[in-house]
């Protein structure tokens, strides 16, 4: 019973920089440090983490933060792309270039393989999408590689079900999220306890907004796929969105493609990601555009969220990103 109390000493200590300490810390630096803290905590406490990398802006920022967290050492875990097979070619090119430049290890989980093996069935019709099929591919890959922590780039400002999710989000042996029974999460003390077969989804960007992401991309000079900036492309107007004309898109009766100057606010499966009219050609201009917008990111561009009021919650319960 050795109770060695050393010293109680939190009294004020004169510091030449006292004034600086009283200033509120700048928000971008706070968000960056919070994300790095979360990423390091996972690397220290889990045996086999993986970082989901789609080639979208949020996962690119997340990877950028992860590389900073361990610099000058290499990333201590791989990244994984859940490949729907319905990619924009610019995104795949970017993925391969970025993986080569950063030296990270890439795991690809293929929706096409899940279809070929009969794990899932392809949707049909003009609104067919492989978006929902990704969940099975993702969960199969997590089981196959025995990943116990899976970093995702989801943000709470994206969607109302995501606004409810913890930074460490527990998934049972079926990969399911139980939103009514989440672990309390206090201060920056994260509880990653799980049994074999269960895993934790980890969201280091939980407290970032779309505008924070763009400000950070501009400030850090982070490279993104060209789709995020204004360019001319053939599009089809559908459900109030502009869908890119790609070989994956089946035109419905009466739909006529036309040319437009657009950029993408989100990048996902090419069949359900819409473009917005924009002339913003660099990150600073995009940030200015986002600061003035009156429509949410997913509301403007994601057909998958329009399924129902609880579309995202239902998909997340099943194990979606």
């Amino acid at each position: 019973m050795t109770e060695a109390v050393t010293h109680v000493g939190m009294s004020a200590r004169p510091s030449p920089r006292e004034g600086a300490d009283a200033d509120p810390p700048p928000l971008p630096a706070l968000l960056e440090s919070e994300a790095i803290h979360i990423i390091r905590e996972v690397a220290a406490e889990f045996e086999n983490p993986v970082l989901l990398f789609s080639g979208g802006k949020d996962s690119i920022v997340m990877l950028h933060l992860a590389l900073k967290a361990f610099a000058p050492c290499p990333l201590p875990f791989p990244v994984m792309h859940v490949d729907t097979g319905h990619n924009f070619p610019e995104v795949l090119e970017f993925r391969d270039r970025h993986v080569a430049a950063t030296g990270v290890r890439l795991v690809v989980a293929s929706v096409q393989e899940s279809i070929d093996r009969g794990r899932v069935a392809e949707e049909t019709g003009p609104r067919a999408s492989r978006n929902r099929l990704q969940t099975t591919t993702l969960l199969d890959a997590i089981a196959e590689h025995r990943f116990d922590a899976v970093f995702g780039g989801a943000r709470r400002d994206e969607e109302k079900a995501r606004a409810k999710e913890r930074v460490y989000s527990f998934r049972d042996e079926f990969g399911q999220w139980d939103p009514k029974n989440q672990r309390p999460e206090l201060w920056n003390l994260y509880n990653g306890r799980h049994r074999s077969g269960e895993h934790i989804r980890v969201f280091p960007l939980s407290n970032w907004t779309e505008l924070d992401i763009w400000r950070y991309i501009a400030a850090e000079g982070i490279d993104l796929p060209s789709l995020y900036y204004a360019h001319r492309r053939s599009v089809v107007a559908r459900d109030g969105m502009l869908l890119a004309l790609t070989r994956f898109l089946t035109l419905a009766d009466g739909e006529a493609p036309f040319e437009e100057t657009v950029r993408f606010r989100t990048i996902g499966d090419a069949t359900c990601t819409g473009a917005v009219r924009s002339g913003a050609a660099d990150a600073r201009r995009v940030a200015a555009e986002i600061a003035a917008t009156r429509i949410t990111e997913r509301g403007a561009t994601r057909a998958d969220d329009r399924v129902s009021e609880a579309g995202m919650e239902d998909r997340k319960r099943e194990g979606y990103f």
Binding site: M1, E3, A4, V5, T6, H7, V8, G9, M10, A12, R13, R17, D21, D23, P24, P25, P26, L30, E32, S33, I36, H37, R40, E41, K68, A69, F70, P72, K160, A161, K164, P179, K180, R183, P184, E185, L186, W187, N188, N191, R193, H194, R195, S206, L211, D212, A218, R284, A287, A288, I290, A291, A292, R294, I295, G299, A300, E309, A310, E313
Partner: protein, 454 residues
């Protein structure tokens, strides 16, 4: 998120700069069910023009489908299917918005007693707690419980939002009665800075705009008050340095090992004399690396990696501390615990995993000293155990020493969680008191006097 109307645009401001000079404000709501917390958040977001057109269109459509005569703004934050079905809040929803003066994160927390643990989740990092009270009902047990929790968690400011003033004829007497009731409770429970605002979230009076219904109220509306609140810097001004080691980086080649972590309190710079605990070895900081490389100095709560001038044996769970002002070091911990599992009560003899900073040890419950009566904030001795959502003082014995400070001096080194080893659930949250003082316990005088705008 800063959302300006298109006429004003953002061209004048630098879009790469965050809004506001008073810094980020983290807000947690508190109060009983049906006091209108989600409606208030919805009103605040709506009137501050932080609701997007598609979000508003979606809640307007849902409201109309349900036969409501006006748009139900609470639907903006009640994001789960079960919440919308039952019209209640089950778990915390985080919302983000900014005004030209400041950036805000709002944790909209549940009012039901059974979801108290989710309220605690939202309040643990808050700078201000907005305690809502229904003007018709006055203070109820849940408003007292939440105010007490906010006080224990040392949320620096409390705003008493006396809501639904339209339902009591905007009566100044009704407002004053509730305000005085709360001031009495705040004094007993050791709650510090309190401001009271009469309002109607439904009609928008005194939320963002003052409105005309309560000319007797001379204070600012809620948002104006939140924009100007001053927040103490994290880790406390002039605190002694604490760096819990999260991860050890071993650069290839000749580089020294780097000890990575987030500064929990104080600041670090090259040359600082430090002690590594629990080993007690001493040395000096050689380099401090921020996310972009070496820096001259870094402070809480930023993430860093430091090197020491000597190759000491340092690993995850150790703490690099100011040599002049080290923390307490010990295995007998006195803490105030909020119990958060329904599976079984907290009882003497039970063991749990205890996670404190980056250190996880085993802990055995030695004694439940008392339970706090949430109605009065007074301790009830001989409690024996703590059930779900109960709060009390507990003594624990740990399997290895902890390096800790009193929670009132340093949130990050004065708090821990208890984890049920069988289920993995977070079973309890605790704040550490020292020298026999219970955090913000009864009888402890409030540092700031209760202040009201009238």
């Amino acid at each position: 998120m800063l959302v300006e109307s298109p006429e004003h645009g953002a061209e004048s401001a630098d879009p790469t700069e965050s809004a506001g000079s008073t810094g980020l404000l983290r807000i947690a709501t508190a109060g009983s069910v049906d006091d209108g917390k989600s409606t208030l958040i919805g009103r605040l977001l709506h009137d501050a023009k932080a609701v997007f057109e598609d979000q508003l269109a979606a809640v307007a459509a849902t409201s109309e489908r349900r036969g409501a005569s006006s748009t139900d703004l609470s639907l903006l934050t009640d994001g789960l299917r079960a919440e919308r079905e039952q019209g209640i809040t089950i778990d915390v929803a985080y919302r983000y918005f900014a005004t030209p003066a400041r950036t805000f994160i709002i944790a909209d927390t549940p009012g039901h007693v059974q979801y108290t643990r989710n309220m605690v989740t939202g309040a643990s990092t808050a700078d201000v707690a907005m305690v809502l009270v229904d003007a018709r009902k006055g203070l109820v047990e849940q408003s007292r419980r939440h105010a007490l929790l906010a006080s224990l968690l040392r949320v620096p400011h409390v705003v008493l939002c006396v809501n639904k003033m339209d339902l009591v004829g905007h009566s100044q007497a009704a407002f004053n009665e509730i305000r005085e009731d709360f001031a009495e409770f705040a004094g007993l429970a050791g709650i510090g800075s309190v401001t009271a605002v009469p309002m109607s979230a439904l009609h928008g009076d005194n939320v963002v705009e003052p409105g005309t219904a309560m000319p007797w109220y001379g204070g600012p509306p809620l948002l104006r008050h939140l924009e100007t609140l001053r927040v103490p810097p994290p880790g406390g001004p002039g605190s002694a340095a604490r760096l819990p080691v999260q991860y050890v980086l071993r650069p290839a080649g000749s580089g020294h090992r780097r000890y990575a972590g987030s500064i929990a309190a104080g600041s670090l710079q090259p040359g600082d004399a430090v002690i590594v605990l629990p080993s007690g070895r001493t040395g000096r900081i050689a380099e401090v690396h921020g996310p972009d490389g070496p820096v001259g100095r870094a402070r809480a709560p930023f993430a860093v990696a430091v090197t020491l001038d000597d190759q000491l044996d340092v690993s995850r769970g150790d703490m690099i501390c100011s040599a002049a002002h080290p923390p307490h070091l010990g295995q007998d911990i006195d803490a105030t615990v909020c119990w958060m599992t329904a599976r079984h009560p907290l009882r003497p003899g039970a063991t749990y995993l205890l996670k404190h900073t980056t250190r996880t040890v085993r802990a055995r419950v030695a004694e439940v000293v008392h339970r706090l009566d949430v109605g009065t904030g007074r301790p009830e001795p001989d409690a024996g155990e703590l059930a779900l959502n109960e709060i009390g003082r507990v003594r624990l014995r740990t399997s290895a020493p902890l390096m800790y400070d009193a929670y009132r001096d340093s949130r990050a080194t004065g708090s821990f969680i208890l984890i049920d080893e069988a289920t993995g659930d977070t079973a309890g949250a605790a704040i550490i008191g020292v020298d026999g003082s219970v955090e913000a316990g009864p009888g402890e005088s409030a540092e700031d006097s209760t202040r009201e705008h009238t």
